[in-house]
């Protein structure tokens, strides 16, 4: 049947649904491309004189340390390796290619190309972290300047960029909390950290690794954080608070300063998880609410790419009082030159090798400099505008709701619920996500536990046009309709993706069957055949 594809573009100014199909190359596993003897690259060799001089160097390796069998790596010519990975890349939806508002909490904004170019300059890509300080003044200046930017955005007094991502920053701040109480002789007594269920799971998990018992507060029935619950939870055992704001529901805690006060009065420290800072840049600041520490995800709020899951960049900020505990070294400036300050006897030490992910710091700095104070505030305002526009449009779809804070606006994201649709049709939020792949869109439910039933967290950031937001909503509306008219189509999705539905979860959860490497897979296949 011939389709009229005008129906799939834009009609009367409104975007229609696309005839999307993800690339499907049926690409073999790389080992299946093995052509023994072929070469992907050749290496620089040792000159004849070197060879002559050193002789058989491998003989200097103790017998038991000399590898006897070559590693069983595939051998493939260069163009064929390239083609394989290009095909895999086509089977991946980057944020550059889709309207990536479905990955709430992750601030999937545009990652400017100019910043990528800058990060590949030899002045950053080809410098060694242990070079003499006078040869790395440029990168130290970037770090120093960017620290000043973050100080102004947050009101904090010092920052460290050593952590590589949000969670590692959260851990850094938990370790600083521990060092602070240790210095006050209260480390043994103060063994509890309080967080909320709508703060990222890493607040709870990192506090636990740092040695704390974790108390998780649930919100009031209207979704606002519960101040009375906090008052009931604090005690002389409270080490501190680790909390996101706005929380992952997109609700700003109006009592946040009271939360911080309650913790301070109990003798604890307050850490502000600013993974959700995108809607409040230039609007409200961590230090002004009394927080002692905060962190930013440079790969979220500051527009550096997520790289399929890193490297990102973490920035951990603290008050003057806590600055002495920050990881070593920090960047200083003596009026003439920049330097790495290692003279920090009370520091928690290292949390990561060298000084963190310098190219990410550079990209984040470049992004902030391309916007300035007005631009950063514009980022926040438009992110909030887009989110509330999306909220309005989403609530027009039968079957979806936005639990909590009824009648109120949200900051930069919303955790929706498809519970009503699920009750009506049996189509779950997860099913919707699988069907969304057929339209070239990401979709995410939420972190566990699912406090909001059948959850879906959307964050449109400042990067998308009104039409793009409409397109996303249009797809969800279409899927919700299908749930009522053709549920089997949804339940059997995806249809237009690279692969089809994975039903056999036993192969991922059963130790007899799971295979994390090709060699394990081959071994288990063989065992199965022999049985």
């Amino acid at each position: 049947m011939t389709q009229d594809i005008r129906n799939y573009r834009i009609t009367e100014g409104k975007p229609n649904l696309r005839r999307f199909h993800q690339a499907r190359w049926d690409e073999p596993i790389i080992f299946e491309l093995n052509q023994p003897g072929q070469r992907g690259v050749l290496l620089p060799r040792a000159a004849a004189e070197i060879k002559e001089e050193v002789g058989d160097v491998l003989a200097s390796i103790p017998e038991m340390m000399r590898r006897k069998q070559h590693p069983a790596l595939p051998e493939i010519s260069q163009a064929q390796v390239l083609r394989h990975y290009l095909r895999l890349s086509q089977e991946n939806l980057g944020a550059d290619l889709n309207v990536d508002i479905g990955q709430g909490t992750c601030t999937m904004k545009y990652n400017p190309k100019v910043n990528e170019q800058l990060a590949r300059l030899p002045g950053i890509a080809e410098i060694h972290p242990l070079q003499d300080e006078k040869t790395i003044q440029g990168i130290l200046e970037i770090m120093y300047r960017f620290e000043a930017v973050l100080k102004e955005i947050s009101g904090m007094d010092r920052f460290s960029f050593q952590s590589q991502a949000g969670s590692q920053s959260i851990y850094t701040c938990a370790a600083i909390m521990r060092a602070y109480h240790q210095a006050n002789g209260e480390a043994d007594q103060r063994d509890e950290v309080i967080t909320t269920i709508f703060s990222h799971p890493s607040n709870a998990a990192c506090a636990k690794v740092a040695g704390y018992k974790v108390i998780t507060l649930y919100p009031e029935s209207n979704g606002y954080p519960d101040l009375d619950a906090l008052k009931a939870a604090v005690s002389e055992r409270t080490a501190g608070l680790m909390i996101a704001n706005p929380e992952d529901t997109g609700i700003f805690n109006p009592y946040i300063a009271d939360f911080v006060n309650v913790i301070h009065e109990a003798g604890g420290l307050s850490f502000y998880d600013q993974a959700n800072a995108n809607g409040i840049l230039g609007i409200t600041r961590a230090r002004d609410a009394g927080f002692d520490m905060c962190h930013f995800n440079l790969h979220k709020t500051f527009a550096t790419p997520h790289g399929c899951g890193g490297p990102g960049g973490g920035a951990a900020g603290v008050s003057e009082e806590l600055a002495k505990f920050l990881p070593t070294p920090v960047v200083g400036f003596d009026g003439k030159k920049y330097f790495l300050d290692y003279d920090r006897p009370e520091s928690i030490g290292k949390v990561r090798s060298f000084y963190g992910v310098a190219p990410v710091v550079l990209k984040a700095y470049a992004w902030a400099m391309s916007l300035g104070a007005d631009g950063l505030r514009e980022v926040a305002e438009v992110a909030v505008l887009n989110n509330n526009y999306l909220l309005k449009k989403m609530l027009e779809i039968p079957g979806v709701s936005a639990p909590y804070a009824e009648g109120k606006h949200r900051i930069e994201q919303v955790r929706y619920s498809w519970q009503e649709l699920y009750e009506d049709t049996g189509i779950s939020s997860e099913d919707i996500g699988l069907r969304a792949a057929d339209f070239g869109l990401h979709y995410w439910t939420s972190h566990h536990p699912f406090v909001v039933p059948e959850p879906n967290t959307l964050e449109p950031t400042e990067s998308y046009t009104k039409d793009e937001i409409d397109e996303y909503v249009g797809v969800l509306r279409k899927i919700a309709e299908e749930a009522r008219t053709n549920p089997d189509l949804v339940k059997s999705a995806p249809h237009n993706s690279t692969i089809h539905r994975i039903d056999d979860h036993d192969t991922l959860d059963n130790p007899e069957k799971w295979a994390v490497t090709w060699r394990a897979y081959q071994r288990k296949l063989k065992q199965k055949k022999n049985r």
Binding site: I30, G40, P44, A46, P62, M64, R66, R67, K68, P71, L73, I76, Q78, V81, L88, N92, L93, N111, V114, R120, G123, I124, E126, I127, H128, I136, G138, I142, G211, V214, I283, N297, H299, P305, G307, C308, G309, G310, I348, K350, F354, A358, L362, G372, D374, L385, Y389, H409, I411, L434, A437, Y443, H447, E462, S463, I499, W514, A515, T517, A520
Partner: protein, 465 residues
């Protein structure tokens, strides 16, 4: 530009006033300020942030950044002999091509249906690492080699339900600092001093300290100072005798020529993959791996994501998914193993590309050529009066200690003068390891040419005379 006309930012499409107005109307509010109704007035920032004037156009931004970065001296315009955890190796062009692809660079946490490519690429990365390491389980990369070591030690102590780890020197003091902090307050770290004469791990030190309280014995091969130890099996046997796990840190680039630690008794192998196709980028290319045998008790202790291969509803189609997801902090918050989050996935994909390009022959050849060149450099330096090079009479890979005691000059003085010759001399060890005297750690890779090494030797000779 009209000063009163608001800026429409290229990264913020809806900063255009007419569309903004239209969207506000649709929401049913007069101003964006209303949308912030939950933020108390007292917490609102009054006025504008005090930030530098923006560089609104790309050329202005480029000029600004290039000018600042221009102050850096690079390893392209200088001869570099620094390593110590960050290594200047050959980066194949295809590695940069692939990690620069929008689809990989800008993706995040999609499901196997929209991000099949990243699942397969990372599965292939872990699979090729598995061949190098001869181990069946390898994780999706963690932050860096430091984190891999810290987590491996925590895994081992959970597995044995013990609270003590022995770390056999020599070890990078920064890494040790990270491990100590990371293991607080649950695990006590005991450092086993090494033999300062030959740079080797001291078996006697371990024997003195190991007990039934020891959960992990950790050592590196090659060590921080480049020395290859043949004691691996003995250390592993000792660890196992006391019921401890044996953890070995290594750099996978050595494994074309060196026996993988799994073959001499390691239970957990960890390290950094920066050598496999990542630029040095001021330490920004680090990424960690952890590998174990395919046993449930090991696998269930990983905090990281583990991607497994799985069938789909179409016979023969390869699908991928998270293995044993329920152990992670994503699933069960503080009840999970440590935590999981954004780490270094793009470097994992890149290392996969690197290994696919290198193949079996490439990995063997690179091991040999690094050894040839580093041994040649050590010899050239040994010809200079007053130098002991290598300082240890022990087998080594890529890095070796040079002792300058006989020159009457400090490493700092020597390196300062080398810099005038356009050379970054080896890492000064005199603060970290005063017991080694006036010593530096030199790193030589496949990228160094004979002329580079001769230039170094000539410059050092001139400096110390």
């Amino acid at each position: 530009m009209d000063k009163n006309k608001p800026v429409v930012y290229p990264y913020i499409p809806n900063s255009e006033p007419a569309i903004k107005k239209q969207m506000l109307e649709e929401i049913g509010v007069e101003s964006i300020d209303t949308l912030y109704e939950d933020i108390p007035e007292t917490l609102r920032l009054k006025g504008k942030m005090d930030l530098p004037e923006p560089l609104l156009s790309e050329p202005d931004l480029i000029r600004h950044v290039e000018k600042i970065l221009g102050q850096n001296a690079t390893c392209k315009d200088h001869l570099n002999f620094l390593g110590a955890g960050c290594y200047q190796h050959f980066v194949p062009a295809v590695c940069d091509e692939i990690n620069g692809r929008s689809e990989f660079l800008t993706a995040y946490a999609g499901e196997p249906y929209d991000d099949h490519g990243r699942f397969q690429a990372l599965f292939e990365y872990t699979s090729m690492m598995g061949e190098l390491l001869e181990m069946d389980v390898v994780n999706v990369p963690t932050y860096d080699g430091f984190q891999a070591s810290g987590t491996s030690i925590r895994m081992a102590c959970r597995l044995t339900d013990r609270k003590e780890a022995l770390i056999c020197g020599p070890i990078n003091p920064d890494k040790l600092s990270m491990i100590k902090n990371y293991c607080l307050p649950d695990i006590s770290i005991k450092i086993m001093d090494f033999d300062h004469e030959n740079g080797h791990i001291s078996l006697g030190e371990i024997e003195k300290s190991i007990s039934k309280r020891t959960g992990a014995v950790y050592f590196e091969n090659p060590s921080y100072l480049g020395v290859i130890t043949a004691l691996g099996e003995k250390i592993a046997d000792l660890a196992h005798k006391y019921g401890a796990e044996c953890i070995v840190g290594t750099d996978p680039i050595t494994l074309g020529v060196l026996t993988p630690p799994s073959q001499y008794g390691a239970d957990i192998v960890c390290g950094d993959i920066q050598s496999l196709g990542m630029h040095i980028q001021f330490g920004g290319g680090q990424a960690g791996f952890i590998a174990t045998r395919d046993e449930e008790k090991y696998l269930m202790e990983y905090p990281s994501r583990l991607f497994g291969i799985t069938p789909t509803s179409v016979p023969g189609e390869y699908g991928f998914g998270d293995v044993a997801y329920e152990r992670t902090s994503f699933a069960i918050r503080e009840q999970g193993k440590e935590w999981v989050g954004t780490a270094s996935a793009l470097w994992g994909i890149t290392a996969g590309v690197y290994l696919a390009l290198m193949g079996s022959q490439g990995m063997t050849e690179i091991g040999e050529v690094i050894m040839q060149k580093s041994h040649f450099a050590a010899r050239k330096l040994s010809e200079i009066e007053g130098l002991k090079s290598p300082a240890f009479e022990s087998p080594y890979f890529r890095e070796f200690v040079v002792n300058f005691d006989g020159t009457g000059k400090s490493v700092a003085e020597i390196n300062t003068t080398l810099l005038d010759h356009g050379i970054f001399g080896g890492k000064d060890l005199s603060q970290e390891y005063p017991e080694l005297g006036n010593s530096a750690l030199y790193c030589v890779t496949e990228l160094h040419k004979q002329a580079d090494i001769e230039k170094l030797a000539a410059a050092v000779k001139e400096v110390v005379l």
